[in-house]
Structures are given as structure tokens and as C-alpha cells.
């Protein structure tokens, strides 16, 4: 029996599967697939559909600069992690924000069109937030794998075209 979980696994693997594809791969009919997807969207389980992009492979001069930023914060009676996260996450430059265990508190990823733009964003918008005590910025130099997709996958299909 297919479940909502199967639909999530499938869309997680390829968000461009059509309703028809999903129906063929599961026990659901097309209208059941539509219903399940709508429910998952309404419940905030599915929050978006995005392509996995290897910007480096795009042969133009337009740069896409990304950085991960380690953030340390100091909490007080009135402010918790959620409050700080809300303030940071609202910026469109921020592409992900996670609270993590270990030496620092938040792990932030930022995107911009130039290094200048990203640095300014960190120094002008993030660092001045009163609870933030320290930022350490790491510019991404090369990306090898994103969202489970390897960019330069050498696993070519070298099988014989017809075999027993």
C-alpha cells in the first residue's frame, strides 16, 4: 500500500514528477495524488519546489557568491533562539538558517551577486543584531554536492547494452 510518505520520497527525489508519473509509481489514482499533495502543502510539510543548481556549470560571467556563516549569540531573559532566528531568516539574502550543536549556535547560508554584497550584508545587517556576539564567514569556493546530488558524478553507465 502506498502512503503519503511515498509521495514525499518521490517528490524529494524529483520535484518534477508529474501527477501522472506519481500515480503510475504508486497505488494512488491521479486525483488521489493531487489530494495528497494538496494536503501536504496545506499542512506545511511541502514548503516549496526548487531545482538543484550547479552555478559553476553556468557559463557566464555572472557570479553567484555563497557563504556559510557561523553565528554565536548571547541569550537573555526576554530573547530566545526563535526570536533571533526570526529576525535573521526574514532577509532574502539568507537561503538557510539552522540552530546547531557545538562551538557556535547558528549555521547560516547567504547568497549574493558579489563578495562585496555578501560581506556588506553580514557586517551591516547580521553582525549588528544585539544578541550576536561573533560571526565567522566562510566563502564557498567550490561545490561538489548539493541536496543529495553530486555535480560531477563519474558513475557513467558502462553496462553492455543487452545482457542476460
Amino acid at each position: 500500500m502506498s502512503s503519503r510518505r511515498d509521495i514525499l520520497d518521490l517528490l524529494g527525489e524529483n520535484a518534477r514528477y508529474t501527477t501522472e508519473d506519481l500515480a503510475h509509481m504508486t497505488d494512488f489514482t491521479e486525483s488521489e495524488v493531487e489530494e495528497v499533495v494538496a494536503e501536504l502543502e496545506d499542512a506545511g510539510v511541502i514548503t516549496g519546489y526548487q531545482a538543484v543548481i550547479n552555478w559553476d556549470a553556468l557559463e557566464t560571467d555572472a557570479e553567484r557568491v555563497r557563504a556559510t556563516v557561523e553565528l554565536n549569540v548571547a541569550l537573555d531573559r526576554e530573547t530566545n533562539y526563535g526570536d533571533i532566528a526570526d529576525r535573521i531568516a526574514k532577509f532574502p539574502e539568507v537561503t538557510s538558517l539552522r540552530l546547531v550543536s557545538g562551538d557556535y549556535d547558528f549555521d547560516l547560508t547567504v547568497e549574493g551577486d558579489s563578495m562585496r554584497e555578501v560581506s556588506h550584508f553580514i557586517s551591516d545587517k547580521v553582525a549588528p543584531i544585539p544578541e550576536i556576539t561573533q560571526t565567522v564567514t566562510h566563502y564557498i569556493m567550490e561545490s561538489y554536492k548539493e541536496q543529495g546530488t553530486e555535480f560531477d558524478d563519474h558513475d557513467d553507465d558502462d553496462r553492455l547494452s543487452v545482457s542476460p
Binding site: L10, N14, D21, M25, D155, R159, S161, V162, S163, P164
Partner: protein, 381 residues
């Protein structure tokens, strides 16, 4: 004396698959649904274990029966997965693929002139293997109306009662058929009544989608007359490593090992290191690949239904076996390849009972599968 093939070899025609391979090789950009191996690469952890073993210089022969660490893991794994209990020291032999294991069994356990009943359609090596061993083959064609399961009826009708041994494979290549416990009990009863030993090729045992795989060796009175064959090629996607194993009573394994120790010495060492890692740490990879096959299976079966192609619900391995819409499946497969650039293999390449069907391998990414199904639909409409 000239270097002519021996009569035993001359008696075996080239495989029917070969012709389609040659046709397909001449064409560019084909989509192949004719491949009998996984489209996945071996799990990375297993590949890395192989690399590490090479770095450490572990490049010698192993014990004839295979590394003991591997045999103990196979023993534990088969017990946990399928209730198959075999002693790693006396009852398990690690081979260069299930293929070698089957060849050893035919040569070490049958006399020339013995009769081997071969359930068909089946993997292409059983009949040639028997012929090379000087063993006579009794064809046992299974039937489309039984969904290609082996039944007492087809065994009786084919004269298998007179045979000394029976070889079959479930989950099946090329049909994707599987057998339930009750269905196997019928076969087991027949083999006990007529005193047949059984060579059970269970290479696809982990790839079942409707019910758990059951081994005939777990049924009453069968362990002592059965040799089970399995390996890392299919579930672990390790075909090129060439590693399999045979499990059976001590006398059988000892006899097979006698041939193995002189002809092979030991199965590939690097592959044995990879296999140890595969059994220890790659079960999640197997589950993920199995889930992918299951989706593709649903996809092709559902597309067949929509395009009016009759096909029983294949429940194992990575094959579906629809009826061919033309009378001549060979002609169909050839025309389909020429006109639509999609390779499939006609059922007749897999022996008796396969006529009029097509083997569709869904060990292919979903995008290609989708394109292939669209082409099939337009070709037959």
C-alpha cells in the same frame, strides 16, 4: 588434432541474446530495457573497502572456501534474512559469482548421463552448463497461465519425475515471477517423492515486492537435498566484482570445493573485502535500491495496463514479462529496436515457455523508462 571445439562445446549454440546485443551495439542513442544487471553502481562503502584492501596490499589468494570472516557473515545474514542456517566452516563456499557455483554443482554433483530438469524460461547459463558437464537436460516449460510459477502439473507433464535433479530460479529472470511458501511446498513434495535434488538459484532473493522470499531449503525434508546459490551481483549491485556463494550440506559443498580448489583456487580477494563491508554496512543501500526498483515496477506495469499490453504482475527481480502484441516476438523486438531505438529481449532467448513474450528490464532510470514506455505505446498503437 586440431583446435576445433569439443563436441560438448559445439553442442551449445551461441546465446540468443547475443544477436540483440550486436544489433543494439550498431546503433547510437538507444534506450536499453535489455540489461540483466542493476543500473546502480556498487554501494560506495563497499567500493571504498575494496580500495582500502588494495592499499593495504591484500592481494593474495584466500582460503579455497573464501575468507572465514566473509563466510561467517554470509551465515549470519542468510539466517537473519531467510532462516537459512549453514555452518560457515563446512556448508558455505564462496564462488566467483553464482555462475561459478552453479557450474560447480553440475560438475561435482551430477554424473554424465544424469538428467537435470531445468525450469524455463530461465537464466541462459543452466542448459549450457549442464551440457558442458555431460548432463542431459529435461526442459520444464512453465506457463503464462500459471504466471510462470513452477507447479506439480508442469513438472509431471515434462517428465521431470525421471530426472535426478532440478534447477530453477525464483525470483525469476526473465519473468519476474516469485513463488510463495505454499507453491514451493508443492514443488518440494514432488522432489521428495521422485527423489530429485534441487539447485535453487536465489540470486534475486532480496528483490521481492509482494511477499518475502522463501527458500525451498527451509521446507521439511529439503535441506539435505538442496544447494542454494546466491551472490552480491543483484541486490548489492556488484556484478563486476564477480562474487557469489553456495550453501548446502557438507558432502555437497566438499565435492564442489574439490573442483573449485583446482579450477579457481579462491574467489576474487578484492571482491571478498568489498562483500564483507557490503554485509556489514550496506543494507540501507539495498533497501533504497529495492524501493527504486519497486517504483519502476509499478510504473511499467501501470503503463502496460494503460496501453492494453497484457502482463502478469511481476513481483520480483527487475524484470516484467508482458505478452508480445505480435505473433513473432523476435520480429517485434527487432522492429522495435530499429524503429524506436529501444532494446528489449524476446522471451524465446530464455528457453522453453518464453515464446510470445518480451523481457523488459526496469533496471534503468525513470526518465529513460518513461521515454521507452512512450515509444512502446506509440509503436503498438
Amino acid at each position: 588434432m586440431t583446435l576445433e571445439p569439443a563436441d560438448r562445446v559445439d553442442a551449445v549454440p551461441p546465446s540468443g541474446i547475443r544477436r540483440f546485443f550486436e544489433l543494439a551495439e550498431e546503433m547510437d542513442d538507444i534506450i536499453s530495457l535489455g540489461v540483466g544487471e542493476p543500473d546502480f553502481s556498487a554501494p560506495w562503502a563497499a567500493r571504498e573497502a575494496a580500495i582500502t584492501s588494495l592499499e593495504r596490499g591484500q592481494t593474495s589468494y584466500t582460503a579455497n572456501k573464501g575468507k572465514r570472516e566473509l563466510r561467517t557473515r554470509i551465515s549470519r545474514f542468510e539466517d537473519a534474512a531467510r532462516d537459512l542456517r549453514y555452518d560457515p566452516d563446512e556448508e558455505i563456499l564462496v564462488t566467483a559469482g553464482a555462475s561459478e557455483g552453479l557450474d560447480l554443482a553440475f560438475r561435482a554433483l551430477l554424473n554424465s548421463g544424469d538428467k537435470l530438469a531445468v525450469a524455463q524460461p530461465c537464466y541462459v547459463s543452466y542448459v549450457p552448463g549442464a551440457t558442458f558437464a555431460g548432463v542431459d537436460v529435461v526442459d520444464v516449460p512453465t506457463r503464462a497461465e500459471d504466471e510462470f510459477k513452477l507447479t506439480r502439473e508442469v513438472l509431471e507433464a515434462s517428465g521431470a519425475a525421471e530426472a535426478d535433479a532440478l534447477v530453477y530460479c525464483y525470483p525469476n529472470n526473465p519473468t519476474g515471477a516469485t513463488m510463495t511458501g505454499d507453491e514451493l511446498r508443492e514443488v518440494a513434495a514432488f522432489c521428495r517423492e521422485h527423489d530429485l535434488v534441487v539447485f535453487s538459484d536465489e540470486i534475486y532473493a532480496d528483490l521481492t515486492y509482494e511477499h518475502e522470499h522463501i527458500s525451498i531449503a527451509t521446507l521439511p525434508g529439503m535441506r539435505e537435498r538442496t544447494v542454494v546459490f546466491n551472490g552480491f551481483s543483484k541486490a548489492f549491485a556488484m556484478t563486476g566484482f564477480r562474487l557469489g556463494y553456495a550453501m548446502g550440506p557438507e558432502e555437497a559443498i566438499t565435492a564442489m570445493n574439490r573442483v573449485h580448489q583446482y579450477t579457481m583456487l579462491s574467489a576474487p580477494t578484492t571482491a571478498q573485502h568489498a562483500a564483507i563491508e557490503a554485509l556489514d554496512n550496506c543494507q540501507a543501500d539495498v533497501r533504497e535500491m529495492t524501493a527504486q526498483y519497486d517504483r519502476r515496477r509499478n510504473y511499467v506495469l501501470s503503463r502496460f495496463e494503460d496501453m492494453g499490453l497484457s502482463c502478469f504482475p511481476a513481483s520480483g527481480a527487475f524484470y516484467a514479462f508482458p505478452e508480445c502484441p505480435w505473433d513473432d516476438a523476435d520480429e517485434f523486438a527487432e522492429a522495435f529496436l530499429q524503429e524506436q531505438k529501444v532494446a528489449v529481449v524476446p522471451g524465446s532467448a530464455f528457453g522453453a515457455g518464453g515464446d510470445g513474450h518480451l523481457r523488459i528490464s526496469y533496471a534503468t532510470g525513470l526518465d529513460e523508462l518513461k521515454t521507452a514506455m512512450n515509444r512502446l505505446e506509440s509503436f503498438i498503437s
